[in-house]
């Protein structure tokens, strides 16, 4: 069973603002029956340009219905410019979080909002621009890139959780992985060159803490940062790692790979015996 927060359950069992506004100022219609979830958002502005009312109709699971309900509550009373800033993460946060496999429900809410605002401005978003990558759910490369950038996605599984792409026949997994690499590495190479020495040191420490240490500790091992000399990262292995024959492989495939991914592609990890 999914672990839904009380807030999700509340919004699912008693959703706010269900329905459809007649003569709305904006309409956002996303999803489809065959996809398994769909959401129709309508809203109306008052004299001062504030969102006076928003209503939603949702087909889908509990988290889809809750996301629709949360979205309307968040929009009402805001100006268009303020409402525009609501992201899928804001919707998920408003609900006290969503199971990671259900993040696409908040993304769907966000898409409906974008569409409704575009509709109000008379600049409808062009349907499905870009190339379809996932044929099962009709997800384009542009949608995937957007989700990766906005939510800092790193794996195919995360892309599936947020966009549904790759959740069907799985034939597009290779293409999605390629897109992730392209999105991640292009801007990073340029950005990371700007790092000062202090910034670089902090980023290395953070990456070890967040990306590396947890997986080592799962196997009873650990790592200690000894020194940073230019691009040479000197580390010492601890716990189970220090007696492990495959420690050099781990240093190369995990530690160095992660540091190169998150800090700089020029880094070299070396083990010292301290």
């Amino acid at each position: 069973m999914w672990e839904y927060t009380d807030k999700v359950k509340e919004h699912f069992l008693n959703p706010s603002n269900v329905g459809e506004i007649e003569n709305p100022d904006g309409v956002g219609d996303v999803g489809s029956l065959s996809c398994g979830d769909a959401l129709k958002l309508t809203f109306k502005l008052d004299d001062q340009g504030l969102i006076a009312d928003a209503k939603v109709k949702t087909f889908g699971c509990a988290s889809a219905i809750a996301s629709g309900s949360a979205l309307t509550e968040m929009m009402i009373g805001k100006t268009i410019e303020e409402a525009e800033k609501i992201s899928n993460q804001h919707i998920a946060d408003y609900l006290g979080g969503l199971p990671k496999e259900k993040m696409h429900c908040s993304v769907m809410g966000h898409e409906a909002l974008e569409k409704a605002i575009a509709c109000y401005r008379g600049t409808p978003i062009e349907e499905k621009e870009g190339t379809v990558i996932c044929e099962c759910f009709g997800v384009t490369d542009l949608e995937i890139i957007k989700a990766i950038q906005e939510n800092h996605l790193k794996t195919v599984e995360e892309v599936t959780n947020f966009t549904k792409a790759g959740g069907g026949c799985e034939r597009c997994h290779g293409d999605i992985a390629k897109i992730i690499l392209e999105v991640q590495h292009k801007p990073q190479l340029e950005e990371k060159k700007e790092l000062s020495n202090i910034q670089k040191m902090r980023l290395i420490e953070e990456t070890i803490e967040r990306e590396i240490r947890p997986s080592l500790q799962l196997d009873g091992g650990d790592i200690e940062l000894i020194d940073i000399i230019g691009n040479r990262i000197l580390v010492a292995t601890r716990g189970a790692c220090s007696a492990c024959k495959s420690a050099p492989i781990t240093l190369k495939n995990l530690v160095e790979a992660k540091l190169r991914e998150f800090v700089s592609p020029d880094l070299v990890v070396e083990e010292v015996s301290k």
Binding site: K9, L33, S34, F59, C61, I65
Partner: protein, 383 residues
Amino acid sequence: MNPIYVDNNATTRVADEVFKVMQPYFCELYGNPSSMHSVGGRVGPKLKEARKQVADLLGAHPDEIIFTSCGTESDSTAIHAALAVDPGKRHIVTSRVEHPAIGSLASTLNKQGYRVTEIAVDGDGCLDMGALEESLTPDTALVSIMWANNETGVIFPVEEISQMCRQRGITFHTDAVQAVGKLPINLKESAIDMLSISGHKLHAPKGIGALYVRKGTKFSPFMIGGHQEKGRRAGTENVPGIIALGKACELAGQNLHEENTRVLELRDRLETELIKQIPDAKVNGTTKQRTPNTTNISFANIEGESILLMLNEFGICASSGSACTSGSLEPSHVMRAMGVPFTMAHGSIRFSLSIYNSKEDIDEIIKQLPPIVKRLRELSPFS
């Protein structure tokens, strides 16, 4: 609130009688049956009795029963055995609607170089018998077809298939975890070579299963180690589990009549009333050849997880073939194989009853479900 549990194809409650007979084998009679002392010695006769109880339910000889840890292990054992004893043959025939215990294993074997034919089903969930017969070749090592489908309850003509296989010298295995205890089974009169059963589907606990292997069927063990189960399944016996499974099989034999009369009538009433009261609802799978406890109904334009969670608010526990509940993004492979449109598949609900269900349980579901469907349709942009 006492739950109204109608998810018995997922798992069942342990019968009181079963729980009672297994209890002494934890703290008092905890011996290892292989030991040469009285603590172990007192266990052996009880295992023998349990083996006979299982064999009796299946119309088999006790020597033909191998205890395993679960239905999945029984399935894996059967398939690996059939392939191991005939290493020259590289073809496996199965169906598109098997449980993952067979389905995922077949895909893995396919990746390892075996040729796999998955026989299709029609819109009623019935097997394409013509295609099955045509698929059999001299290279076919094994046919594995489930006896009854877990999602729809649809029964496959396994006797007919087993005859087809016997004529061609092909091993036939059936995953019968959903059939045992619900349908009369007499393996003496059958050409089935191997058959899997699972304890927790028939009121024994989780963690115990059995594999029937017909006398004379060539066999190769899956678990390697000690001499237990006459060398056919190594590993110290799950003594309390085996004793529980024995008792559960004895009870299942006694309750078979009730399953096919009272439980069947409850199921039929539930189905008829729901279809009558709820517009745009349809039964998935043929109603002609079905296990007596199962019905699978689709409600158009709404999503299964939402239905389940709202039912859960009333203490009603069922299951769904919808994408959202399966943990994947697509509806169940059974619904897709049957060609159920996505609009219907997302809103499919399975009710699977047991002898522990009462008329009141069914009345409560009939009372609660129609307003839930109505409410979810009001929320939906499609209706």
